[in-house]
């Protein structure tokens, strides 16, 4: 890796956020709960927050999404929401019989200072019908953090609710994986396969590959279908090791380690040669087996792919925006092949991004990205980047959350040797389209280069 001065991570000081990059913490929590089998996320707040989150999740995952609300009104906000929580829990259990309810607070109930966790104890004591359901409360005010924070908090809360605080004898072949919100259902599947190559079995939490991978069921189930089972989560203390992926999983990893004594390895990402090498080392150590031939071959292919692709990346200027861990994975990949990070924007504070090879990481919105993206070769951002990309006159590659206007993004694999290989190709091809467009069209009417938005067909890889 090249050595460079640390980037400054600066928050744009402005009162007006334009084209928000941030999505809310409760939404992140809901997404995490969807990776648990038989679960139903429930927002403690007014119904609108749930409706917005629901629509966004449906459009991104292209699945029916279970999500409920305590339906707070102006009056119940003033009087207190305990009764709404109680009714909501009882109704959800009656209607959908979930195994787990993920109860996430919102800005409204946190502003009022509701004691959701205390209330929950009272509610459980007086409603025997709730005995069989696990309720995981998590405090996620909308005014603090974004999607990754909500996701991280929910995973931590799931661990605290379900994993017993005890050191258990460890099984020989089980590992825990704490997956970040930037991992697609396709990534989760790939990771499970990689782990299986070492003769290990993984408990992946949360596991969106089972629940949001676009399967077509034979019956209708009102809660999530697939995902980590409650028994698997309860048994996480029996594993030999835990791997936490992404900075926003660090706290959950530490929590699990403190509760169970299972050692946690923190991996910053699983995209890129070095990163996957680290994963191989960990898995090899845990399993006591050498890296299987199949994966060694894949590594070779990746080395070749990086060399083939780097011509497109060398000197290319890239603007990138998204949740911090997703940005970290993509930015290190492209700058590792010689691209310049012309602009990097994240929605929330992320000091660890100072390690990126760029002058400045901006904590801001997509307007900030558009302001800094002019003249770059490629913009990497979620679907909402389409307007800013248009304004800056640059092509747009969709990555992150939400992606509502392309199909297949949930199956995109970006991790492991194979995933990195394919992602490098896809991005390189996108850049080659750009170069080609410039080459063939030459100067545009305004006499400038590259200010004509180019339509890329880069969503689906083979």
């Amino acid at each position: 890796m090249t050595h460079h001065a640390p980037a400054s991570v600066t928050k744009v000081r402005k009162a007006l956020s334009v084209s928000p990059l941030k999505t809310s913490a409760p939404l992140g929590a809901a997404m995490a709960f969807m990776g648990v089998e038989g679960s139903m996320p429930l927002f403690h707040g007014s119904q609108g927050c749930t409706a917005f989150a629901l629509v966004m999740l449906v459009r991104h995952f292209r699945e029916a999404i279970p999500l409920q609300t305590t339906a707070m009104s102006e009056v119940s906000t003033i009087l207190g929401g305990m009764e709404n929580v109680e009714q909501a829990l009882v109704n959800v259990v009656k209607r959908a019989q979930p195994k787990l309810i993920g109860l996430a607070s919102t800005g409204l109930t946190e502003t009022r200072g509701e004691d959701m966790i205390g209330d929950l104890k009272l509610i459980r004591a007086r409603n025997r019908e709730l005995d069989d359901v696990v309720v995981v409360p998590v405090r996620t005010p909308d005014f603090s953090g974004g999607l990754e924070m909500g996701w991280g908090k929910a995973v931590k809360a799931i661990i605290e609710t379900l994993v017993p605080e005890e050191k258990a004898p460890s099984s020989q072949n089980r590992v825990n994986v704490l997956a970040g919100s930037h991992m697609t259902p396709g990534d989760i599947d790939e990771l499970r396969d990689i782990i299986a190559c070492f003769g290990l079995e993984a408990t992946i939490l949360p596991d969106l590959s089972g629940s949001l991978d676009g399967h077509v069921p034979d019956t209708w189930i009102p809660t999530t279908l697939g995902g980590t089972t409650l028994d698997e989560i309860r048994a996480m203390g029996w594993a030999k090791a835990t791997i936490a992926i992404g900075e926003h999983m660090r706290l959950s990893g530490e929590t699990l380690e403190t509760r169970t004594g299972v050692p946690t390895t923190q991996l910053d990402r699983l995209t890129g040669l070095e990163a996957v090498d680290r994963l191989m080392t960990v898995l090899s150590q845990v399993s006591g087996r050498p890296v299987p031939t199949r994966l060694r071959r894949q590594r070779n292919q990746l080395v070749d792919a990086l060399m083939d692709s780097h011509f497109a990346f060398g000197g290319a200027r890239i603007a990138i925006a998204g949740e911090p861990d997703m940005v970290w994975a993509y930015a290190t990949l492209v700058s590792g092949m010689g691209a310049q990070l012309q602009a990097v924007v994240v929605p929330t504070e992320a000091p660890f991004l100072s390690a990126l090879d760029t002058a400045e990481v901006v904590v801001g919105d997509l307007e900030d990205l558009a302001d800094r993206a002019e003249g770059c070769d490629l913009m990497i951002a979620n679907a909402n980047g389409r307007l800013p990309a248009h304004r800056a006159g640059v092509p747009h590659f969709r990555a992150g959350f939400p992606i509502v206007d392309r199909v297949g993004s949930n199956h995109r694999v970006t991790i492991g040797y194979r995933g990195t290989r394919d992602l490098s190709f896809t991005l390189a091809n996108a850049l080659m389209d750009v170069h080609e467009a410039h080459g063939t069209h030459g100067q545009d009417e305004q006499g400038g280069y590259g200010h004509t938005p180019i339509t890329l067909n880069t969503e689906q890889e083979g």
């Binding site: 007006l16 409706a51 629509v55 449906v58 029916a64 102006e74 829990l89 909308d142 307007l387």
Partner: protein, 486 residues
């Protein structure tokens, strides 16, 4: 006070729903209806206000609140307007914890100022949301001060989510226009055939199929509220001769308010469906003539209707053989379903049911009568909201061949391997006017007759009882090469 304003909206005398209610029920308002904790669906009042006003394309729509309100929802609707794109940019104060503790008014003022200096819109609409409402941020005052100091109209839209449903929000949005925008500008080109269309959102630019019809009749749209409108059009809307209320319940207070304040008569109509389009044109012509327009407008309108209807039915007849006998489930809250029902029946399709979740009694009656007209003789059903599980079963059991609905229930149909078509706000095709109905039928043909349905319903080979295992080998033996080898 927001509570007074809401009370006045609840008392809306022209709202059919309200007229049917007892005094006690009326006091409860539309807000409490249908909100069962743990079993609620639907947007909040802020959502409703924003939907109603967002199609004003040249203003800044600034959402005052934490990220949940705007961050999770911006740029989800397509208005087909060419021209200003500013309405799509997504502006919010994105309140942080510190703002919530210290109060958000100063930040809001600065945000308004920044929006004006950076984007120079003709006006800023400021939307209140739950958290700042709870901590007591007074957006009315901030907007008033901003208007005075910054010299641009800054309009408060006081509809925080927790006061009620989307429907209530539509009305509160309309109220903001009536209170702060309509009548603030005197145009110099007032004409005798100017009309406003209220409650038209111009989804996917579909109003483009209607506007030319009016143009041919010499009728000018002063303001289309709010699809494809500019701020100044709405500010001058009080000079029109007639108001047409399209989505009548959503903005009825605006129509009534303008009648009281400016003496503009209104009628309720729709541009969905052939018959409804004709009826609306007829009514516009008649009312304009009553208000002093040339009487020949009526004859010209009849001539246009005759011509367009004939063309539309002829164009649709082409699709009939491919649609005849197919069963449709109409599951919609917004679009007036009966006008669509008629067109489907005309295609020989059987409408197995339509939902009347958000309809008034009058709407329900119309829908019921429409459902009796199924040519197959089978009477369609009126549904409330259908739970996902039940809907899934209906498709699995083959009770419908296609569902027309909004995006939310899309995946219930798809999971049951059943055709689906979007008819709500997020859709990309326009269905209004004569051309729109043809387009709808054409789209339905494309969807329902797509060969993919046959494919995806094929059972997997391992799910089938093995019949004969030999043909594969027999086939290969018949090839010349295999024959030569033997």
């Amino acid at each position: 006070m927001i509570s007074d304003r809401i009370a006045s909206v609840f008392n809306e005398p022209d709202c059919d729903k309200n007229r049917a209610k007892s005094d006690v029920d009326r006091k409860k308002g539309c807000a409490t209806k249908g909100l069962t904790p743990g079993a609620a669906a639907g947007g909040c009042a802020f959502d409703g206000a924003k939907i109603a006003l967002q199609p004003v394309t040249d203003v800044v729509h600034l959402v005052h609140g934490p990220i949940a309100c705007e961050g999770n929802s911006w740029d989800t609707r397509n208005v087909g307007t060419k021209g200003p794109m500013i309405y799509r940019w997504g502006f919010t104060t994105d309140l942080s914890e510190l703002d919530v503790i210290g109060g958000g008014e100063k930040k809001l003022y600065r945000a308004i100022k920044d929006a004006i200096s950076k984007y120079d819109p003709p006006a800023v609409f400021v939307y209140q949301t739950c958290v700042p409402a709870l901590i007591g941020d007074d957006i009315d005052t901030v907007c008033r001060v901003a208007t005075e100091r910054l010299g641009k109209p800054v309009i408060p839209v006081n509809a925080p989510g927790f006061v009620g449903s989307k429907n209530l929000g539509n009305k509160l949005g309309a109220q903001a226009l009536l209170d702060h925008v309509v009548g603030t500008l005197e145009p110099d080109d007032v004409g005798s055939t100017d009309i406003n269309i209220i409650g038209e959102y111009d989804v996917a630019g579909e109003f483009a199929a209607v506007e030319p019809l009016l143009e041919r009749l010499g009728i000018r749209i002063r303001a289309c509220i709010t699809g494809r409108s500019r701020y100044v059009d709405i500010a001058a809307a009080h000079t029109a001769q007639v108001n047409m209320m399209v989505c009548s319940q959503a903005m009825i207070n605006l129509g009534r308010g303008m009648r009281e304040k400016y003496g503009i008569p209104y009628f309720e109509g729709s541009f969905y469906g052939i018959g409804d389009t004709s009826l609306s044109l007829r009514t516009i012509a008649k009312m304009l003539v009553e208000r002093g327009a040339d009487a020949d407008l009526i004859d010209r309108t009849e001539a246009l209707i005759a011509e367009e209807e004939a063309k539309a039915w002829a164009a649709m007849a082409e699709y009939k053989p491919r649609l005849e006998g197919k069963k449709v489930l109409l599951y919609t809250g917004g679009v007036k379903s009966w006008s669509v029902v008629h067109a489907l029946q005309e295609m020989g399709m059987e409408v197995i049911g339509t939902s009347v979740r958000k309809s008034t009694e009058d709407d329900k009656g119309k829908a019921k009568r429409a459902l009796q007209q199924n040519t197959t003789g089978k009477m369609g059903e009126l549904f409330g909201s259908i739970p996902n599980g039940e809907m899934y079963r209906m498709f699995k059991d083959g009770e419908a061949d296609i569902m027309l609905s909004g995006g939310r229930s899309q995946f219930v149909a798809l999971k049951a391997r059943t055709a689906w078509m979007d008819i709500n706000q997020e859709r990309h095709a326009g269905f209004e006017g004569y051309a729109g109905m043809i387009e709808m039928v054409r789209q339905m043909d494309i969807e329902i007759n797509n060969p993919v349905w046959e494919q995806v319903r094929l059972p997997a080979p391992w799910d089938e009882v093995p019949v004969a295992l030999t043909p594969v080998h027999t086939a290969s033996a018949a090839t010349p090469l295999a024959g030569a080898a033997e």
